[in-house]
């Protein structure tokens, strides 16, 4: 089984005035192709920070992140970092973060357009993924015209449409009610299996965390297998 992502001794400290909080104290993690991992932990323990570092939205103080054998540091110049985000990861945030001026379809097409896929192919591919998440009929709606659960499903479609090596999900059910949350978990787990997605999800939702093949807990800046 090939390694998609690997972290070595990741350290991250937040400094504000005279207070220093070391949230990650040397996190080691290996994610293989097709893995479905979940990380739980109490609020403020550094789960989102870890995810942001893996998604190149934030930078670790020390340690190394390798994706498909290439270190993240090699992308760390202005020409390369956006390419890493564009090609290597798909993000799902707690808030759906769909762009309000674009239709659901256009939102889902966006990662493909950023990867220079022509509009026709991008449209067909986006419609196919929207069909997978049960939103084909809502393709021409604007985010304000669909429900929270539907928006989060659209966000999933956007994260996977360009088939990134890894999908990072930060509390994807955090803003959903129980029914929508269950529905989302079912769809998400099904897609992971069907498309053999490599997924790392950070969540408080036991239902979602339990669907993962490998479950971790972040405690005192370190990862522990549950």
């Amino acid at each position: 089984m090939s390694v998609i992502l690997e972290t070595k001794k990741l350290v991250k400290t937040y400094k504000s005035d005279e207070v220093q909080v070391e949230v990650l104290k040397g996190v080691d993690l290996i994610i293989n192709k097709g893995d479905f991992l979940s990380i739980r932990g109490s609020s403020g323990v550094g789960k989102s920070t870890l995810l942001n570092i893996l998604g190149a939205l934030d930078k670790a103080d020390s340690g190394e992140v390798c994706i498909e054998g290439k270190t993240l540091n090699s992308y760390f110049n202005e020409d390369g970092l956006h390419l890493y985000r564009r090609e290597k990861v798909g993000f799902i945030f707690q808030n759906h973060y769909l762009m309000s001026d674009f239709t659901v379809l256009e939102n889902v097409m966006m990662p493909l357009l950023l990867n220079s896929v022509d509009r026709k192919t991008a449209k067909n591919k986006a419609l196919e993924v929207l069909d997978n998440v049960g939103l084909k009929e809502r393709a021409k709606h604007y985010p304000s015209q669909i429900s929270g659960g539907e928006s989060q499903r659209a966000a999933v479609a956007r994260a996977i449409v360009h088939e990134p090596p890894i999908v990072l999900a930060d509390e994807p059910t955090g803003n959903l009610d129980t029914k929508n949350s269950e529905n989302f978990v079912d769809i998400f787990a099904r897609l992971q299996k069907e498309r053999d997605l490599t997924v790392l999800v950070v969540t408080h939702d036991m239902n979602l965390a339990d669907k993962a093949d490998k479950r971790f807990k972040l405690y005192d800046g370190l990862l522990f297998t549950v």
Binding site: H82, R85, R86, D101, M110, R158
Partner: protein, 455 residues
């Protein structure tokens, strides 16, 4: 094949900022323009429309003044600065001047111009006599020269009798209560100054055969035009003139023409241009031009502040989108392009529309002012009318008082080059104005936006 595919990929990627910028400009759904775009559009549109109106009206007044002067006044005046200041051998000099200037001169002729006293019964005033050559039509008739000002009364005056006749300004006729056919007496100095007698005056009656209008108040209120031969009799100078005057086809040739003829008229003569003769007037026009350019810049800068504010608004309202797009892997340059395009395209659209509307407004400005004039007068009259007696005293307000501006209509002139330059500067500054907030947008860190710490 692979290289072609890569080129297509690059083209597709470079078009994405246009797609996003257009959407931000348009707004979502069936809207024509988004709220922020509407705000910056209104700023630039209003700025450029008013700019066109101001430039056109300023330009109109200047052109009207210049036209009044240039069409009638000599462009170059050659004077004898020695002796009795007369030019006796003027006919060969006129021919020499014509051949020196060739096709650049529209006319070269001898002229007498002098201050005089006009008397009509008990009314006495000072005037300027301008004596110029009229065409001899034979049968004791003189034809009107080509450069003669517009004759407003009688409507058709194609020739005049070769006698002591004069054409006077329309305003002078009004001020001195002159009518066609009236006789006025012109009093001028004649002969040499002596200690015993001073300068003896000469007086001659002239019959008014017409009224002219140049549009230049000083001329229309003070100038009396008489035939050259008659003036020579009045001043007691046989075939001599006081000046040789040149009119040019193109005023841009003024200084070239002066240098050309200075080779003919050495030492004894002075050559003055129309600008020398009306130094104050041209200085005033230059000041007006400076004020005009300053106003133009103020308008453009005000509109640009509008663009900066509106683009900052767009950036602020789209901050979340910037975070999302960056997390999806859009580059800094693409973000910079999206928001610069946002202001730039709005600037182009608003400038073009603004110039078009400004031209429409200028074309109809007089009608608009007349509408407001009648509206103000109606409202004023209504409010001053005594309901019980029906008595009212209301002096009508005139927004363009004709006695002050001395024009029949509001003069409008479009300086196309100036409008093009102003439009170009406006569009260029729109881009620069949009670039500043766009630059700040491109430097935003997605993590700050997503965490919400930068909101």
């Amino acid at each position: 094949m692979k290289e072609t595919r890569n080129i297509f990929k690059k083209i597709r990627l470079s078009l994405l900022p246009f797609f996003i910028a257009f959407r931000y400009i348009k707004g979502r759904g069936g809207k024509l323009l988004s709220v922020n775009t509407r705000l910056s559009f209104i700023g630039v549109f209003t700025g450029t429309s008013l700019l066109v109106v101001v430039i056109s009206v300023f330009g109109g007044f200047q052109e009207q003044f210049k036209k009044s002067l240039f069409e009638f006044d000599p462009h170059l005046i050659i004077k004898n600065e020695t002796g009795d200041r007369k030019i006796k051998n003027w006919r060969p000099l006129v021919e020499k001047t014509k051949s020196a200037l060739k096709e650049k001169a529209s006319s070269v002729e001898g002229m007498i111009q002098s201050p005089a006293i006009v008397r009509k019964q008990s009314i006495i005033d000072y005037v300027f006599i301008r004596a110029q050559q009229f065409k001899d039509l034979g049968d004791n008739r003189l034809g009107i020269p080509e450069n003669f000002p517009e004759i407003v009364q009688p409507k058709k005056l194609e020739s005049l009798p070769n006698e002591d006749v004069c054409v006077v300004g329309k305003e002078m006729a009004f001020l001195l209560d002159l009518k066609i056919g009236d006789t006025i007496e012109l009093v001028v100095p004649r002969g040499q100054f002596t200690l015993k007698t001073g300068v003896p005056p000469n007086m001659r009656p002239y019959t008014i055969v017409g009224f002219f209008k140049t549009g230049y108040y000083d001329h229309d209120s003070r100038l009396v035009i008489i035939p050259l031969e008659s003036a020579q009799r009045l001043f007691g100078i046989s075939d001599a003139v006081q000046q040789i005057i040149v009119r040019l086809h193109d005023m841009n040739d003024l200084y070239f023409a002066r240098s050309q003829i200075s080779k003919i008229y050495r030492f004894l003569y002075s050559i003055r241009t129309i600008e020398d003769e009306h130094r104050n007037f041209f200085a005033a026009l230059n000041i007006e031009k400076t004020v005009q350019v300053t106003i133009v810049f103020m308008f453009i800068i005000a509109a640009m502040v509008g663009i900066v504010v509106a683009t900052y608004n767009v950036v602020r309202s789209k901050k979340r989108d910037i975070g999302i797009l960056k997390s999806l892997g859009i580059s800094r340059n693409a973000i910079l392009m999206i928001f610069t395009l946002n202001g730039f395209l709005t600037g182009i659209f608003a400038t073009i529309m603004g110039i078009m509307f400004g031209i429409f407004l200028s074309d109809n400005l007089e009608a608009i002012l007349l509408f407001f004039e009648s509206l103000i007068n109606k409202i004023g009259l209504y409010y001053v009318t005594d309901i019980a007696t029906g008595d009212a005293y209301w002096e009508n307000i005139r927004l363009i008082p004709k006695n002050v501006y001395y024009f029949d209509h509001l003069p409008i002139h479009y300086d196309i080059d100036f409008l093009q330059a102003a439009g170009f500067v406006s569009i260029l500054l729109s881009g620069i104005a949009a670039f500043i907030p766009a630059w700040s947008a491109s430097r935003m860190r997605p993590i700050d936006i997503i965490r919400g710490s930068d909101t």
